[in-house]
């Protein structure tokens, strides 16, 4: 629960109070100490150790790459980062899938072989990996200077409000702010407090109440069309208010430390196309996927459909080690590819005319809303829901 635990609030109040009275030159050290305490408290030694190793690797390879951009250490470090994410997050899924495929071919694999108990994934491993990959890529490809100050780099890695679930930071925006850490002014502090209250309200008073309704809707023996539509809509609202609430709290705490963090949402359910939706939904992740997967694959320049499919498949899998997430990502990839083709052929349909905008909004809402079923439920369950909804519509 992190932001909802009493420990967190006692910690946050202490961290802020000390930070505000700290002389400016000591602020980075205190912020780093507080962030390390937060990380250790929630992740434990087993969760902290791999992140320290990955951070040290990224920091040293960043310096080496800045000095010698053609060096091999960059590729090796990228490989290690991706392998670490794969090992901690996806090895169990891989083992289960392999065992299922072998079982399909008639080869029985004993459960003890594939149900090997790995240590749990380190807290926030996806977010760490994405920020470290971004850091090295920017140094190597865009020739950005590496962060030399180890305290600044460590703070970029483990600044506690963004440590677990983002927003995914960009170091050219974040690190320069660390050189001039300051207390927020009264106006900034009032904005931050309002942001945190809004975040808590979204999470506790909207998202968590929606969960209660969702439980009622899920607990029915048979589905029908209105029930499935309601469930999909409620799940969409729930994930929005849950994660937008989290992001508000993180951004608000950033402001209380005088730091500006990237935004994550911009009224996504008002989007009139899928492309627009992904520019407004989890913006720090969408931009990361665009900059570090879609564009390096070729972007709009060549085999655009494949690039979209691959980027969205990975985007889906990033959300969790289960195949329904991959299907959800591919579903959005397919939607984006079809939309891009329609946009090329009928650009007028994506113009400013009111009727097209309304039609686009309705289609986008319908497509995104059905997608939440794929996000939240296993494929077999979504199939059952969809079948029962369609049967309900058919006249007897």
């Amino acid at each position: 629960m992190l932001f909802l635990q009493p420990w967190f609030w006692a910690f946050a109040v202490t961290a802020l109070a000390v930070y505000w009275v700290c002389p400016p030159r000591f602020k980075p050290y205190w912020l780093l100490l507080a962030s390390a305490m937060f990380h250790y408290h929630f992740a434990g030694p087993a969760g902290v150790a791999p992140i320290i190793v990955l951070a040290l690797l990224t920091y040293s390879v960043g310096l080496a790459t800045a000095a010698q951009p053609a060096g091999r250490s960059y590729a090796m470090a990228m490989l290690v980062l991706v392998a670490a994410l794969g090992f901690y997050k996806y090895s169990r899924l891989g083992a289960r899938t392999g065992a299922a495929l072998l079982g399909f071919l008639g080869v029985h694999v004993a459960p003890e072989v594939w149900e090997w108990q790995l240590a749990g994934a380190p807290l926030g491993i996806s977010f760490f990996t994405f920020e470290f990959v971004h850091y090295l890529y920017e140094i190597r490809v865009h020739r950005r200077p590496a962060v030399r100050n180890p305290v600044h780099f460590a703070l970029f890695a483990i600044f506690f409000p963004t440590l677990v679930s983002g927003p995914i930071k960009r170091f050219p925006d974040f690190v320069p702010q660390l050189a001039a850490l300051h207390n927020p002014g009264r106006a900034e502090m009032w904005l931050a407090v309002r942001r945190i209250i809004r975040g808590l309200f979204k999470k506790i008073c909207i998202a968590d109440l929606l969960v209660e309704y969702i439980k009622v809707f899920e607990d029915v023996p048979h589905f029908n069309a209105p029930l499935v539509v309601s469930l999909a809509v409620l799940q969409g609202w729930r994930i929005y208010y849950d994660f937008a609430g989290y992001s508000d709290i993180a951004i608000g705490f950033g402001q209380l430390f005088g730091l500006r963090l990237p935004e994550n949402f911009d009224r996504p359910f008002g989007a009139t196309s899928l492309r627009e939706f992904w520019r407004r939904w989890h913006m720090s992740l969408s931009a990361w996927i665009r900059d570090y997967i879609y564009i390096p694959l070729g972007g709009n320049r060549m085999h655009r459909g494949f690039n979209l499919a691959a980027a969205m498949l990975l985007c889906g899998l990033w959300h969790g080690a289960a195949w329904h997430f991959a299907i959800w990502g591919s579903y959005h990839g397919a939607g984006l590819a079809v939309e891009a083709a329609v946009r090329r052929r009928f650009p007028v349909a994506f113009g400013a005319a009111r009727r097209w905008q309304v039609l686009g909004w309705l289609l986008c809402c319908a497509y995104v809303t059905y997608g939440w079923l794929l996000f939240f439920y296993p494929v077999a369950q979504v199939y059952t829901m969809t079948r029962e909804a369609i049967i309900w519509w058919q006249p007897y």
Partner: protein, 38 residues
């Protein structure tokens, strides 16, 4: 001047009510944040 004061007062009231609702519904058994699991 009066309009500004009224607007500020209304903002404070709205946020106070939101905070009150948050505190009233606060529970340690709340569902975890969805994205923390990722």
């Amino acid at each position: 001047m009066v309009a500004t004061l009224l607007r500020r007062g209304a903002t404070v009231l709205v946020y106070a009510l939101m905070l009150l609702a948050v505190l009233a519904l606060w529970t340690l058994d709340a569902p975890p944040f969805i994205y923390v699991a990722f």
